[in-house]
């Protein structure tokens, strides 16, 4: 994405379009709170900030570490790496995951690779370039200090993973191989075939299991965090449910870390795992942690399309396929039901090549996704009818096979093409593949400062669960980098500054904050089981997903978002009066688990719509129909929206009333980089 012709947004450019300042779309849906700012990043040159912060962060003597306890929720790259590292340092760590083993966290499904500014190819890469690409890729909506640090520690990650035995791809000389990714001009992506996430996660998992054996880490599998305990203004523990016995457990500690991943499943269909959920983050939000930019969602262009109403999940096909595949739809709507092989060349519309001649099929994810949607909305989608129209476009390897031979394509993409055939029953060497965008990642998450501490003292948030590094759009191969950066190299330094004030005064299980949190959890479970209505949890989840996808998906408008908010509020009323959950609370009960997650997704969905409604600009993955250029491209309004929208819970913590959320703005200040408008034509 770096070779785009940049045009600096000049002041009179904004005069061409109505300035967003003329509107307050979300008026009535929110209250404006005090502005906030990150106070932890040191001032000075961006290249020195992390070194300064590490030096200034107070130390904890090794003998004192064993008197300090840390709860970490989630065992993906961010949580697993942190558990291992903090265990090695000598703290007492309690690690929680809902899966039956920490090794199954959804980081495992990442395919493509992990970026690092090693510059092994001597092709001009550097910490600064990785920083620059990431800020720009995020459409200038991330916090520059955090991103610079991410780029800075990226090289340490590769060293660490290699030492753990992660089998990265290598060249014949035995040195590490790299590939290019996501349109950047340097080769900085380290990979392990199409299973990089799996190999990195197993590395972190093994390091963590070593600490379990050594006694520094205790793992709680099949446990779900249902509430955070905030006592006297500090996060001091969690309430968790043992998913096998149903026991409600209190776990207390000096500090709590949420590494609980993203909330893409608010859309019901996504590439996330079935169990991925927002509950840990949302319960913290309800207790005072701000939720930042919740509407920033990454919709990945190359996924296998929905085949019918039964669909439970979507599967990603690596974006590397766009290197050789050509994307098209029929020019005429009446051809859409035909066998694509019978549609002659002149009747095909290679629309990305047509609209973006200089980038063609390799435009960034947000643009490729939106254009696929436009084609289908025009009635030129292909594949089976799902609902009332066809949702798919062709990704065709015919020309690449003719040019390079079938063997070459097989060697490059075989496992992906196999997976495609397994899921669809169609042979992609003979019939063009069908793809469609799907929700893949969320850039939004809990607000954190430079230390990764949320607005609740003692509650730290890492990985996809926080918001800080990717702005409005994440570049490929950067999620793994961020998870491991946070877990191995950032949190262990920043958390010690907080812990150097500990151990904190012991609180007992009879502390009012504990008993209240427990009572809330128990009452909620009791409520789910006693509504005894007529609809399953899944039916509510599916309906929520339809609303979110339709109105808060690839294109958002004020009108649609307001409609969605009304629909979600109605759905919420129905959920709490007509839900049907069978079984009991004192055993494994998957419907009960889902009920809690869907209840939280419904509230999150409403906040996402309010956030999207407020942000009357288009940036990265957030496209507002009202804010586009004459050519239909995304148009930012830096004069109005160069801020992080950090939302404070405005409702009553104990009830289902969301109240009116309070918006705190954190201005984004760029000292090391100039804001520009992206262009790919």
């Amino acid at each position: 994405m770096t070779d785009m012709p940049d045009t600096t947004l000049t002041s009179d450019h904004s005069h061409d379009e109505p300035s967003a300042g003329a509107y307050d779309d979300a008026s009535g849906y929110y209250t404006l709170g005090e502005p906030i700012a990150d106070t932890k990043a040191p001032a000075g040159d961006i290249a020195d900030r992390w070194q300064t912060r590490k030096f200034e962060a107070r130390l904890v003597n090794p003998a004192n570490r064993r008197k300090l306890s840390i709860i970490i929720v989630g065992t993906g790259l961010a949580g697993g790496a942190a558990a291992a590292t903090l265990g090695e340092a000598g703290y007492n760590v309690k690690s929680f995951c809902y899966q039956d083993s920490p090794r199954r966290a959804h980081s495992i499904a990442a395919q493509g690779g992990i970026n690092a500014a090693k510059n092994y190819k001597e092709d001009g890469d550097s910490t600064h370039r990785l920083f620059y690409d990431t800020v720009k890729g995020g459409d200038y909506r991330s916090r520059e200090s955090n991103v610079y640090r991410l780029a800075e520690v990226s090289t340490n990650i590769i060293d660490q993973c290699v030492a753990q035995g992660v089998p990265f791809a290598r060249e014949y000389g035995g040195l590490l191989d790299n590939r290019s990714f996501g349109g950047v001009q340097v080769s900085r992506t380290f990979y392990a075939r199409g299973q990089t996430g799996q190999q990195l996660l197993i590395g972190a998992y093994q390091a963590m299991e070593r600490q379990v054996k050594l006694g520094t880490v205790t793992e709680y599998t099949r446990h779900e965090m249902l509430e955070v305990i905030v006592a006297d203004g500090q996060a001091r523990g969690i309430i968790a449910r043992d998913m096998v016995t149903g026991a409600i457990e209190t776990h207390l500690a000096d500090v709590v870390v949420l590494a609980s991943g993203g909330y893409g499943n608010v859309f019901y269909l996504s590439t996330n795992a079935m169990g991925s959920n927002v509950t840990a983050a949302w319960r913290a939000h309800r207790k005072g942690a701000y939720m930042a930019n919740p509407c920033y969602t990454q919709i990945h262009p190359t996924c296998i399309p929905v085949s019918g109403d039964h669909q439970s999940k979507l599967t990603l096909m690596s974006e590397s396929l766009r290197n050789d595949g050509r994307i098209w739809v029929p020019k005429k709507a009446e051809d859409c039901a035909k066998d694509p092989r019978d549609i002659p060349e002149e009747d095909r519309d290679y629309y990305l090549e047509r609209i973006y001649p200089s980038f063609g099929n390799l435009v960034p994810r947000d643009i490729a996704s939106r254009q696929a949607k436009n084609m289908c909305d025009e009635g030129r989608g292909v594949g089976p009818m799902v609902g009332d129209f066809r949702r798919g476009v062709y990704l065709d390897f015919k020309d690449a096979i003719a040019r390079l031979g079938k063997d070459a394509i097989e060697e490059k993409y075989d496992n992906l093409l196999d997976m495609y055939e397994r899921i669809t029953g169609e042979n992609p060497y003979e019939v063009p593949m069908r793809i469609y965008p799907a929700v893949h990642y969320v850039m939004g998450g809990l607000w954190v400062d430079y230390d990764l501490q949320s607005s609740i003292k003692g509650l730290f948030v890492t990985g996809e669960a926080n918001f800080s590094d990717h702005g409005a759009n994440r570049l490929g191969a950067s999620a793994l980098m961020q998870g491991l950066a946070d877990g191995y190299f950032v949190l262990p330094h920043t958390i010690r500054d907080y812990l150097s004030d500990g151990p904190f005064e012991e609180i007992g299980e009879d502390h009012p904050a504990v008993t209240e949190a427990r009572a809330d959890v128990e009452a909620r479970i009791e409520k789910f089981l006693s509504i005894n209505g007529s609809r399953s949890v899944d039916s509510f989840h599916r309906e929520l997903g339809h609303i979110m996808w339709e109105y808060c998906g690839m294109e958002r408008t004020a009108e649609g978002l307001r409609k969605a908010i009304d629909m979600i509020r109605e759905l919420k009323r129905e959920f709490w009066s007509d839900l049907k959950v069978l079984g009991t609370a004192d055993s494994l009960n998957q419907s009960l688990e889902k009920a809690g997650r869907v209840a939280d997704f419904i509230e999150l969905g409403e906040l996402m719509c309010i956030d999207a409604l407020n942000r009357r600009e288009s940036c990265g993955g957030h496209f507002r129909g009202e804010s586009q250029t004459e050519d239909g491209e995304a148009l930012r309004h830096d004069d109005e929206f160069a801020y992080v929208a950090a939302w404070e819970w405005g409702g009553d913590a104990a009830s289902n009333d969301m109240g009116t959320p309070i918006l705190h703005k954190e201005d984004l200040v760029y000292t090391a980089i100039e804001m520009k408008q992206r262009s790919y034509k």
Partner: protein
């Protein structure tokens, strides 16, 4: 298509459990096997019968959570995970028997869900390279011959699902164990702990109640990631060498 499902139901670890028979209709061949079970569960919920508990998470064949015995075969008739098995592998009118993994070392938690924490404990006993965060040398300071790197990767693709154990007449986890021994043993970084690792992990494997390997090969045939049987030869060779060296 219409199907008859014979499904193992067991309320908890101590319940005796038995097969229940259900009918499902209108199943599309594009559904995955687990989506077919989702349809059944919606039906049961409607009828007031508690849905069937089964494990699944990523539903794209990589997390290793799904674990069904389908007509007596782990993950069913294709070489893939249960979640990637699609209904086009079955015919209208089929009767399908669905059971949890069968192994004493994987006790049933409920219905089709089993406890595989024994695998975590095997890893804890030595399935790692001791390299504290921050202590690593520059990544390219230790070249790894490409062939070793490729073999290490191929066996490191194990997803820890336990199909090998479920397939083995002796309930052995030797394929799982051999895969980890081979992965770490192929790499220069894995050499310092190579001999203690194989001894400790094998001891834990036996302690957990997994059986010994008698070279039947059902494990490799059932493995959705096609981990080759030769990792067990590697395991035996490393174990013999380690013992010879007094570990």
């Amino acid at each position: 298509m219409n199907l008859t499902l014979k499904i193992w139901r067991q309320t908890d670890a101590v319940d005796k459990g038995k097969i229940h028979t259900y009918e499902v209709a209108g199943i599309s061949q594009d559904m995955s096997f687990l989506e077919m079970l989702d349809v059944l569960n919606e039906q049961l919920n409607e009828l007031g019968e508690e849905p069937i508990a089964f494990d699944s998470d990523c539903r794209e064949g990589i997390c290793g959570m799904c674990s069904l015995m389908i007509n007596g075969e782990p993950h069913g008739p294709e070489v893939t995970t249960t979640c990637q098995l699609h209904m086009r592998s079955f015919n209208d009118g089929d009767t399908i028997t669905i059971e949890p993994w069968r192994s004493g070392a994987f006790p049933v938690v409920k219905d089709l869900v089993v406890d595989r924490s024994a695998f975590d404990r095997i890893i804890q006993s030595g399935g790692y390279i001791s390299a504290n965060t921050g202590s690593a040398p520059e990544a390219n300071s230790v070249p790894v011959p490409r062939d070793n790197a490729v073999r290490a990767f191929n066996v490191a693709t194990c997803i820890g699902c336990g199909a090998c154990v479920a397939a083995c007449p002796n309930g052995s986890a030797s394929l799982f164990l051999g895969a980890k021994i081979t992965h770490l043993g192929e790499l220069p970084q894995g050499q310092p702990e190579r001999w203690s690792r194989v001894v400790d992990m094998t001891a834990q494997h036996d302690y957990e109640g997994f059986g010994g390997c008698t070279n039947i090969g059902e494990c490799a045939a059932a493995c959705p990631k096609e981990i080759p049987l030769d990792v067990i030869s590697q395991l035996n060779r490393d174990l013999r060498t380690a013992m010879k060296h007094g570990h």
